[in-house]
Symmetry: C2
Subunit: 413 residues, 2 copies
């Protein structure tokens, strides 16, 4: 055991073993819903560093895990000449690294030391396969229809160099150095097998910044995520995850998995911030202060979509973002939005290069993201203030069983 390993273990010993305690904490926070800070504030705050998420399980971590305060998204393409064999070895390396890091252990020999002193800090690593992965590995017959390219939307201004990719990794943690440490470990593991295609950084609220757990806000200042499906809802699993029971056929390897749609959505903040509060609220259809619908109540009150003002106009305008994206306006289409905000300083045109790393999860993109985005694309009052700049769609297999690596059921069956 190296000096570094001893030091890390010693630290973790002082806050509780990373194994049983950590996983139990993860399970508890997972049930608490999609809020920026997990669980009861008094206890959550004492466990920022020591909280850990389980690597093994029916689903990969990082999907129902509460939003972490720091995130990285990174996509790779397999190197020229690399195929299925190299992909198997890579997924083995990545799985072993993820299991270690998520338990608060170093990555192995040559660990950079950046995460030393800290606990796992709810670190998650989540792995997905892009459409192009299947041709490269001669697994085209097993490529799910759900990975067919997303339709083009009229408002898209996508940069192909920051879109798609053979492989995708989502990293989240409640400490920026723990997240960066994991990012570098993933890059190191890629070795000669895969090359970075694009990489983005994001953030959310810090645990304990609010007095109690609250729905996240985005960089426009809006409460964002109120209508997200909740794990406590009866149809949550069916909507978010590919069914595990009775899976057969060429896509059986996706049992317990989910599809991630990733969109880099630039917010045109210089324009948005010039809009008076009342007009911003008309665009969204909700109050900025607390996220309540313009038809009244609190954040979680249902939208009263038919209510009119004395002058006969709709209180929640016909093109309000909340109306157009409401599940009941989209045949119940539902996706679990789990975004990070991003801010990469100032763009060449002098405006803030900031917005949302939108990541949403669903059992089928054609019944989740696509119909909602198609509708938003046609008439969302928010459209003039945002710009979709990059896009990706990834098949994220179920969580690995004990002794398994992520994607084994695809790569070795």
């Amino acid at each position: 055991m190296s000096d570094i390993e001893i030091s890390r273990r010693r630290l973790l010993g002082t806050v509780g073993a990373a194994g049983a305690t950590g996983i139990a904490l993860g399970a508890v926070s997972g049930a608490a819903g999609y809020v920026a800070a997990a669980g009861d504030p008094a206890t959550a705050l004492a466990t920022v560093g020591s909280a850990s998420e389980a690597f093994h399980g029916e689903h990969q971590a990082g999907i129902t895990t509460p939003l972490q305060s720091r995130g990285h998204l990174i996509a790779f393409d397999l190197a020229p000449g690399a195929g299925r064999k190299e992909a198997v070895a890579l997924m083995r390396r990545w799985s072993a690294t993820a299991a270690r890091l998520m338990a608060g252990e170093p990555a192995g020999d040559g660990d950079t030391g950046v995460a030393l002193d800290a606990g796992p800090s709810s670190l998650t690593l989540t792995f997905g396969f892009g459409r192009t992965f299947f041709d490269r590995t001669k697994l085209t017959a097993r490529r799910p229809v759900a990975l067919d390219p997303l339709p083009a939307f009229s408002s898209d201004q996508l940069d192909p160099r920051r879109s798609d990719g053979d492989l995708w990794v989502q990293i989240g943690a409640d400490d920026a150095l723990v997240a960066f440490h994991a990012l570098r470990a993933v890059q190191k593991d890629a070795g000669e097998a895969a090359r970075v295609r694009w990489q983005m950084n994001g953030f959310n609220r810090s645990p304990g910044a609010t007095a109690e757990p609250m729905t996240a806000r985005n960089l426009m200042g809006q409460v964002d995520g109120t209508r997200n499906p909740k794990p406590s809802e009866a149809d949550f699993d069916r909507r978010i995850f590919v069914p595990s029971a009775g899976a057969e056929g060429p896509y059986a390897w996706m049992a317990g998995g989910s599809y991630a749609v990733v969109r880099r959505i630039r917010m045109l903040l210089d324009d948005w911030e010039k809009l008076p509060l009342k007009e911003q609220e008309q665009v969204i259809g909700r109050r900025k202060s607390d996220g309540a619908p313009l038809t009244g109540g609190s954040e979680t009150t249902e939208l009263d979509l038919d209510r009119t003002s004395p002058d006969g106009t709709l209180v929640i305008p016909a093109n309000a973002h909340a109306r157009i994206s409401a599940p009941e306006q989209n045949a119940g289409a539902a996706m679990l939005r789990r975004p990070y905000s991003y801010h990469d300083g100032i763009a060449a045109d002098g405006t803030p290069d900031a917005g949302l790393l939108f990541v949403c999860w669903q059992a089928d993109p054609l019944r989740g993201f696509v119909p909602v985005q198609r509708k938003l694309d046609r008439g969302d009052a928010l459209s003039p203030f945002i710009r979709h700049e990059a896009s990706g769609l990834f098949a994220v297999p179920g969580g690995p069983g004990s002794g398994e690596y992520v994607g084994q059921r695809l790569l070795e069956s």
Copy 2:
């Protein structure tokens, strides 16, 4: 009072009034030293959001304030045609905004709402003047000698577009949205008076990520800041702050102030991470695991600079970073290093655009940063792994008294 203001106040009411309680917390954490997470972990964690720093006082906040987990640096140039009058109005606006935001209140009408729900989260805004500010405002006679340009160092590869500036603002907070909110408020206040010259984002460890407060680590994995002067040391104030007592003459306006040297130091992580641990430790002169000198002990043990190995070589090599930068090797030159790490994704050459937003504070740069950097420039073993890419030097006046704005003693005397 707007909806937003009511909402914010209501929230703060649940965690203690932002005034007396918050300022008291700030004072406590300030005394705890320069660690990533402030104070006793059990209580610090419960106060991430509600902790606040005082805007008024002998010194500006953000100098001896414990490192926050998120930071922004932004520099402005006065707009063409703008002079002293516009500068006065701008410093008044910025001071009013800083006082409100640091107390957890909205910025005023048109607040973006991004910080809603959160407490002040130890937010600090710190304002400085660059050398060029004094000519623009016809205050050249009051420009301190200490603002003379830094000498050129042989290893500099400075980008002038990301260096210097008439005005500089350092923002820090323990929540990324609170920090971003402040950044946008500062930009809005600039209005037509000043234009953004450059802007950078940084981060440190999250409160509670370590089981107890620890010295920060940088993205090379090194413990960084062990030898920082401590406020408990008798000569701390003399080294860091311009004396307040008996200040006279053209620079009297700097009483209680400090000089900030800002360097964007790129870390060549692809090269560094290939270096074996033992060689990394020879470069630094300290163990990576716990920051202890290679001559033994713990992090805070003195370096034994004369100790040799049985083969006659120095245990802490002659060119080790810790040796060359040691105060006792630099006639006691001391500066308070208070950096943020940065990571802006992947640079055009495929390497990580990451490193240190080095910010150091001293009463006189010619007795702080300059002699140490000159020595490092000649023989630091770390030099091949870093690159200074931007530089700034700013006069940061003392903290404002009640009813004063920052810089008033310069601009109105």
